[in-house]
C-alpha cells in the first residue's frame, strides 16, 4: 500500500483535483499498489473537510505543533502540501518527503498572496506555478517543475486566479503520480 497525506487549510480545490485524478486514473501500476489518501488540516472549519467527506477520504484535524507526533505514529510515503497555511518545522520535515505547490515562478514572489501581488504588479515574468520540495525556508526548496501562466492585465483578477488554479489542478496530480511511480 502507498500512503499519501495531503495537507490543506482552507478551500482544498487542489486536494479534490488530486484525489479525483487518481480515482479515475488508469495507471495500473499505481492501482496495483492500493493508493490511499488522507487529509490533514489545521482548520476545523475548513471547506476541504466537506470535500473529504464527499470523496470518502479519511481526515485528521491536527494542530501544527502536534504534527511531529502524528507523523511519527503514522508513516506516509509522501506528504503533499496543497494550500496548507502553516510552516512545517525542520524536525517534522525529516519524517517524510514533503512537496508543495506555489502560484508563482519561484524564486519570484515567495510567501502568501502571491497571485494577488503578481496581478497587482503586473509581474508577467513571475506569473506561473511551481512545485517544489519543502525545506526549512518558505517556498525555498528545490523546484521540481514550473509552468508559466499568461498574465494579461486586461482580464479580471478572478479570471487570472482561476487560470492559475486550473494549471495547479492539472500539473500537481501528474507530479505526484511521477513521484509515486518511482516508489513502485
Amino acid at each position: 500500500m502507498i500512503k499519501v497525506a495531503i495537507f490543506a487549510s482552507n478551500n482544498g480545490s487542489n486536494f479534490e483535483a488530486i484525489v479525483k485524478y487518481f480515482k479515475y486514473s488508469r495507471n495500473k501500476k499505481i492501482k496495483k499498489y492500493n493508493l490511499q489518501f488522507v487529509l490533514i488540516t489545521n482548520n476545523k472549519r475548513a471547506y476541504v473537510i466537506l470535500r473529504a467527506k464527499k470523496l470518502n477520504i479519511k481526515y485528521y484535524i491536527i494542530e501544527n505543533d502536534k504534527l511531529d507526533e502524528f507523523l511519527l505514529l503514522n508513516k506516509f510515503d509522501l506528504c503533499v502540501l496543497a494550500g496548507y497555511m502553516k510552516i512545517i518545522n525542520e524536525k517534522t520535515l525529516k519524517h517524510c518527503v514533503f512537496i508543495n505547490i506555489h502560484p508563482s515562478l519561484l524564486p519570484h514572489y515567495k510567501g502568501i498572496d502571491a497571485i494577488k501581488r503578481i496581478y497587482k504588479d503586473n509581474a508577467t515574468n513571475a506569473s506561473g506555478v511551481s512545485i517544489h520540495y519543502v525545506n526549512k525556508y518558505i517556498d525555498g526548496g528545490e523546484v521540481i517543475i514550473q509552468k508559466q501562466v499568461k498574465l494579461d492585465k486586461n482580464i479580471s483578477y478572478a479570471c487570472y486566479k482561476r487560470k492559475v488554479h486550473l494549471v495547479e489542478h492539472k500539473i500537481y496530480p501528474k507530479v505526484i503520480e511521477k513521484f509515486l511511480m518511482s516508489l513502485c
Binding site: 486586461n154 483578477y157 479570471c159 486566479k161 486550473l166
Partner: protein, 695 residues
C-alpha cells in the same frame, strides 16, 4: 385536501436576555424570531433596523477600482458603452439602474436586452456582432448575466472591446476572460478582507443588488445627489423582490427602504403603483409589488422584446410613462389569458396521462408560447405537487424548448443534467430550469421516459410532501389588534423571511360565501365554541371548503389588519383548513352508511326472525327497514345460505323460510364470491340516496 402540518418546535429561550423581549414587545413574537435564529440583541437590532448594514459598502470587489477607472476613461473619451442586460425583471431593473447613473454622468451609453423567444439568457454572438460593428461599442457592461459565457467573452476581446461582467449567477469551472468581473458568487471576485457575515450577505444579492454596488461607487466618485440614490433604490427593491432572493441582510435593507421611497422617487414606478389604485403608499408591501407590479414589468419580455418596461423604469417624461403603463397593462392581460388557456389545456392533457409513482408532469404542445410555459409549469407544480416540464416547439431553430419547475424533493437541474448528451442547451438551478433538444438526437417520448426513469430512481422510497410550517398555536384571546400590528415589525416578507403562520384549533365555522368577480375566493366567519370572538377570514383562490356551517374546524392562517370605512379589524388570511372534525349539531342523518354497518344490522334481523318469526321473512319488509332493495336482501340471504349461517328451506317470490344454523365471522361474508355483487348493489342504492339528498 389538508396539507401536512408541522408545528415548529420552540428553541429554548432561557438564556435570552430580558432586553430582547422588551425590544420585541411580545413574548410569542420573540419566540418566533428566536426560532428563526434571530436570537441576540445585535442580530435583532440589525433585523429590525437594517439601516446600518453593509448596503453602502461598495469597495468589496477586487476589480471595483479597475472598473471605475475604465468607466471614467470611457466617459472622458466619449467611448460607446453598451449595457447588456437580461429579459427578466431583475435583468431589466439592473440594466435600468446602470443606464440611469451612466446617463447622469453624461456617458455615451445605450442598452441591449435580448429577446426571450429568439435569443436566450446571456451574451450571444449575433447580438454582439451588431453591437460591436454597428454600434461600435468599446465597453460592454453586462447586468445579471454572462458569468458562463466564455466563448462570447473571447469574441468581445478579439474586437478590442472591454467586457465588464456584473452578475450573481454561479459560473463554470473556467471563467470568461472579461476585463473585470463583479460577481460575489465567483471565487476571487470579492476582496479577501471581508467578514464572513458580509460575504454571506453579498452572496444573497440579486443581479440588481450587485449593480447597485457599482452605481453607488460611481455616485460617490462623481459626488452625485441623494435623489438619484433614492430613485435607484426603488429599482433595486423591485428587482430584489422579483428575483426571490432571501429578504435578509442587505436585501432586507433595500426592500424595507425602497418600499418607503416609492411615493417620492422613480416616476415610472410611482405612476404604475398609482395606476393599480393603491391609495396608501405608506403601507406598500413586498406582496403587492410581487403580485401587482412585477408581472406588468415582466409581461412584455415574455411576449416580445423589451422596450416599454425599460422606458417605464428610466423615463422622466410623464406621457411616455403613461403610454408604457397602458401597453404593459394590456400585455399583462394578454399574458394572463394565455396562461389560463394553457393551464386548462395542460390539465386536459393530464386527464389522458397515467402518472405512476413519482413521475413528473412532462407535456408537449407545439403551440404553447415559450415566454409563459414557466409560469404555467409553476402553477402545475403547485396544483399537483410534482416536478413539471412543459415543452413547446421553436420553429425558427427547429428545437423543442422547455421550462421546468420542481418540488423541494427533486433537484430539477440535476435531473436534466443526466440527459445533457441529448440537449442542445440547459441551465437553471435546483427549482427551475430551461432546456432545449433537437429530435435528431432524441424523441420527446424517449426523453420523457428517460426523465421519469431517472426521477423515480432519484426519489426511491420517498414521497412528495408539501408541508405547512406553523410558527405558533394561538388562542382566540391572543388575536388582538396590538399583536397583529406588532407582527408587521417582521416585514417586508419574502423568501427567507416568510410571514408567520398561526394555528387556531376547534373553531366554529359560522358562515361562508364566495366573493370576487369570478366567485373564485371564499370569505368565511369563524368564532370560538362559546360563539364569541367572531373573525372574518379570507381564503384566496378557493371556491368552497368541505366543512358545513356550524361544524368545527382547525385553520392555519396569517393575521392581517384590514381598515375599511375608518374601522380597523383583524382579517385572517387562510392558508389551509382541516375540516375533518365532528359537527356541533347532530348530523347523524348525514353520515354515510357503510356496507359493513348494514350487514351487521341485517345479520341481527336474521337471528331475530329465526327466534321470533320461525325463520319466515318477507324480503320487501327487511329491505324497507334497512333502506335497501329487495334484491340486495335476497342476495344477502343466499350468501348466508352458502356460508351455512342459515339453511333456506323454501322460497316463494318474496317470502323466504329458513333455519338459523349458527353465527359466522363477518369476514366469511366479505370473502364470499358473491360479495362483490352485493357491494355493487349497495353502491347503486347509496348513490341514489345521495342524489335524492342533493335534489
Amino acid at each position: 385536501m389538508k396539507l401536512n402540518w408541522k408545528i415548529i418546535e420552540n428553541i429554548d429561550c432561557h438564556n435570552i436576555e430580558d432586553e430582547f423581549f422588551k425590544i420585541v414587545g411580545n413574548k410569542r413574537l420573540a419566540q418566533i424570531l428566536i426560532n428563526r435564529k434571530i436570537d441576540t440583541i445585535s442580530k435583532l437590532n440589525k433585523f429590525l433596523n437594517p439601516d446600518n448594514l453593509f448596503a453602502f459598502d461598495y469597495d468589496v470587489f477586487e476589480d471595483m477600482e479597475k472598473v471605475l477607472l475604465r468607466i471614467d476613461s470611457a466617459i472622458n473619451n466619449n467611448e460607446k458603452i453598451i449595457i447588456y442586460g437580461d429579459f427578466d425583471c431583475d435583468g431589466i431593473t439592473s440594466t435600468a439602474v446602470l443606464y440611469k447613473i451612466l446617463k447622469e454622468l453624461n456617458a455615451n451609453v445605450d442598452y441591449y436586452i435580448p429577446n426571450r423567444i429568439d435569443e436566450s439568457h446571456g451574451l450571444n454572438t449575433k447580438a454582439l456582432v451588431k453591437l460591436l460593428s454597428k454600434e461600435k461599442a468599446k465597453l460592454i457592461i453586462t447586468c445579471d448575466c454572462a458569468s458562463s459565457d466564455i466563448a462570447c467573452a473571447r469574441f468581445v476581446k478579439s474586437f478590442n472591446c472591454d467586457l465588464i461582467i456584473t452578475d450573481h449567477h454561479i459560473g463554470k469551472k473556467e471563467l470568461p476572460e472579461a476585463y473585470a468581473i463583479l460577481n460575489p458568487k465567483i471565487e476571487g471576485s470579492l476582496k479577501e478582507n471581508l467578514s464572513l457575515e458580509q460575504i454571506e450577505s453579498l452572496n444573497e444579492l440579486s443581479g440588481v443588488g450587485v449593480v447597485f454596488k457599482l452605481a453607488y461607487a460611481l455616485i460617490k466618485k462623481y459626488k452625485k445627489s441623494q435623489a438619484i440614490i433614492d430613485d435607484l433604490l426603488v429599482l433595486v427593491t423591485i428587482g430584489t423582490i422579483a428575483d426571490v432572493v432571501p429578504l435578509l441582510n442587505e436585501n432586507r435593507f433595500f426592500v424595507k427602504n425602497g418600499l418607503n421611497l416609492v411615493a417620492y422617487s422613480n416616476m415610472g414606478i410611482k405612476t404604475l403603483v398609482d395606476s393599480v389604485s393603491y391609495s396608501n403608499h405608506k403601507s406598500l408591501t413586498s406582496d403587492f409589488i410581487a403580485y401587482q407590479i412585477i408581472p406588468k414589468i415582466n409581461a412584455e419580455g415574455r411576449l416580445m422584446s423589451i422596450k416599454e418596461a425599460f422606458t417605464l423604469l428610466t423615463s422622466y417624461n410623464q406621457d411616455e410613462i403613461n403610454y408604457a403603463i397602458m401597453t404593459l397593462t394590456s400585455l399583462n392581460e394578454q399574458r394572463q389569458s394565455l396562461c389560463n388557456q394553457m393551464f386548462i389545456e395542460a390539465n386536459k392533457m393530464l386527464e389522458n396521462e397515467t402518472l405512476e409513482n413519482n413521475d413528473a408532469i412532462i407535456l408537449y404542445n407545439p403551440n404553447w408560447h415559450a415566454g409563459i410555459v414557466g409560469i404555467v409549469a409553476s402553477k402545475l407544480v403547485e396544483k399537483y405537487n410534482r416536478p413539471c416540464l412543459l415543452f413547446t416547439y421553436d420553429k425558427a431553430r427547429n428545437l423543442y424548448r422547455a421550462s421546468g419547475r420542481s418540488v423541494d424533493e427533486v433537484d430539477i437541474h440535476e435531473l436534466i443534467k443526466t440527459q445533457s448528451e441529448f440537449l442542445e442547451f440547459y441551465g437553471g438551478h435546483k427549482g427551475a430550469i430551461g432546456c432545449a433538444f433537437s429530435n435528431k438526437k432524441i424523441t420527446f417520448e424517449k426523453l420523457k421516459t428517460n426523465l421519469n426513469n431517472v426521477i423515480n430512481e432519484m426519489t426511491k422510497e420517498l414521497q412528495y410532501n408539501k408541508y405547512v410550517y406553523i410558527d405558533s398555536v394561538l388562542d382566540f384571546e391572543d388575536l388582538t389588534i396590538d399583536f397583529v400590528k406588532n407582527l408587521s415589525k417582521l416585514e417586508p416578507f419574502g423568501e427567507g423571511n416568510r410571514p408567520p403562520l398561526f394555528l387556531l384549533q376547534d373553531v366554529v365555522l359560522k358562515d361562508k360565501k364566495t366573493i370576487g368577480a369570478n366567485n373564485n375566493h371564499l370569505k368565511c366567519y369563524i368564532c370560538d365554541n362559546k360563539y364569541n370572538n367572531v373573525f372574518e377570514c379570507i381564503f384566496w383562490n378557493r371556491k368552497d371548503i368541505s366543512a358545513n356551517i356550524n361544524s368545527i374546524i382547525d385553520l392555519v392562517f396569517v393575521p392581517k389588519i384590514s381598515s375599511f370605512n375608518g374601522e380597523t379589524k383583524i382579517q385572517l388570511e387562510i392558508h389551509d383548513i382541516d375540516c375533518k372534525k365532528k359537527a356541533i349539531q347532530d348530523n347523524c342523518s348525514c353520515q354515510k352508511r357503510t356496507l359493513r354497518d348494514i350487514l351487521k344490522t341485517a345479520c341481527g334481523m336474521v337471528v331475530y326472525a329465526s327466534r321470533h318469526k320461525n325463520g319466515e321473512v318477507d324480503l320487501n319488509i327487511i329491505a324497507h327497514k334497512l333502506a335497501v332493495s329487495a334484491s340486495f336482501v335476497d342476495m344477502f340471504l343466499h350468501i348466508l345460505n352458502d356460508i351455512k349461517m342459515i339453511e333456506i328451506k323454501k322460497q316463494n317470490r318474496n317470502l323466504i323460510e329458513y333455519q338459523f344454523l349458527g353465527s359466522k365471522e363477518m369476514n366469511t361474508i366479505v370473502n364470499h364470491k358473491q360479495f362483490a355483487n352485493l357491494n355493487i348493489e349497495f353502491q347503486k342504492i347509496n348513490n341514489g340516496r345521495e342524489l335524492e339528498t342533493v335534489l
